[in-house]
């Protein structure tokens, strides 16, 4: 541990904050890339557990994951460092945008940037799903049997019908206890 890990955490979460376009689910693939692939701080399974916990607790997933992973990697200071780092880009960029965006919004190049990133954001969300369905290693599979696919299908339907996501997660947890715990 020590200062080197804190610096790594800081840099990783600064990156996640800076490139976190497209909201929570798009950021997942970025977080996965830093936390599971590059630094191996978490396994796929732990990553997916944190996503589930984030769904059930208040607050944006980027901040939740920063606090959680920071603590796992380097204790309380780790969570302070990671959480601060993930907020810094939004803080500075939004202050600049609040001042200048009204003039910038009509700028064609700014529109080009926003438009150009749109398909990337969709691709990032899809890759986050792929990463959890087909993880690189066996440990922490999201799908272990037919029950998993049943839960997946029903949750998907529920989500399309606008059922509250927290409710869907809680019901799936109860289903898990009934299926695997008894």
């Amino acid at each position: 541990m020590g200062i080197a890990v804190l610096i790594k955490l800081f840099v990783s979460y600064l990156k996640i904050g800076f490139f976190g376009f497209g909201g929570g689910y798009a950021m997942l693939s970025l977080i996965h890339s830093e936390v599971v692939v590059r630094n191996a701080w978490l396994t796929n399974g732990e990553f997916s557990d944190i996503v589930a916990i984030s769904q059930m607790t208040p607050g944006p997933i980027a901040i939740n994951s920063a606090t959680y992973i920071g603590y796992e990697v380097a204790g309380i200071w780790g969570s302070v460092v990671a959480t601060t780092a993930v907020c810094l880009p939004a803080l500075t960029i939004m202050m600049l945008l609040t001042r200048f965006f009204l003039r910038l919004r009509d700028n064609l190049y700014v529109q080009g940037v926003v438009q150009g990133m749109r398909p990337v954001v969709v691709g990032m969300i899809a890759s986050a799903a792929l990463l959890l369905i087909f993880p690189a290693s066996d440990d922490g599979r999201s799908f272990i049997d037919l029950w998993s696919w049943a839960i997946f299908g029903l949750t998907l339907l529920g989500s399309w019908r606008k059922v509250n996501p927290i409710l869907l997660i809680v019901v799936s947890g109860i289903a898990g206890v009934l299926i695997y715990g008894l």
Binding site: K15, F19, G20, F21, G23, Y25, S33, V37, R38, S48, D49, V51, A52, T57, P58, G59, P60, I61, I63, T67, Y71, E72, S79, T83, P89, A90, L91, M94, M95, T98, F101, L102, Y109, Q115, G116, R118, P119, V122, G123, A126, S127, A128, L131, L132, F134, S142, F143, I151, F152, L154, T155, S159, L168, I169, V171, S172, G173, V177, Y180, G181
Partner: protein, 178 residues
């Protein structure tokens, strides 16, 4: 000082009660910022949403910076950000401290086995709606990016930069033709 505390308090409430993140919290912010405190007008709120969605970072955080900064400059922005972050920071810290011990419990493990596929479904769900607005080529690009990021573990950062650059070049090319 009083207004700073009001900003902090309002965003503490928003931070503590916005489950699910993103769009789920917009009505709550709207209520607090427009109806309750009268800090913004409806029109300004729409403007705020446009900015918060184009900027990187969670929408909750971006909204906090916007409102705080408009009201009280950078101090207001800091107060609002602290408000949004503190509840989720404290809750997750407590979870992180105790989850490791709980994780080995048979029941907790069973619950998470049930929740994992549900998490995947929640991630998959919005893709269909997002893809509907795109043409065949953009869909192919999005699919290719998803496959490369997943299979080769390449960081999505490169694709975001390429997308931004591509968008700028496209605008420049169209400008020449016009």
């Amino acid at each position: 000082m009083r207004e700073l505390i009001e900003i902090l308090w309002s965003f503490l409430k928003i931070g503590a009660f916005t489950f699910g993140g993103g769009y789920a919290m917009i009505p709550l912010i709207q209520h607090e910022v427009i109806n309750h405190r009268r800090w913004l007008r409806e029109g300004e709120f729409v403007e705020l949403l446009t900015i918060a969605q184009s900027a990187p970072g969670p929408i909750a955080l971006n909204t906090a910076v916007f409102v705080g900064y408009k009201l009280r400059g950078y101090r207001g922005a800091l107060a609002a950000v602290l408000g949004v972050v503190i509840p989720s920071f404290l809750i997750i810290l407590v979870v992180a401290m105790f989850f490791a011990d709980m994780r080995d419990n048979v029941w907790v493990d069973a619950a998470f086995k049930g929740m994992r596929p549900a998490v995947v479904a929640l991630i998959v769900a919005p893709i269909v709606g997002l893809a509907r607005g795109m043409n065949m080529w953009l869909m192919a690009v999005a699919a290719a990016i998803a496959l490369v990021v997943w299979y080769f573990g390449l960081s999505p950062v490169w694709f975001l930069m390429a997308g931004a650059l591509g968008g700028v070049l496209w605008v420049a090319k169209r400008g020449k033709e016009a």
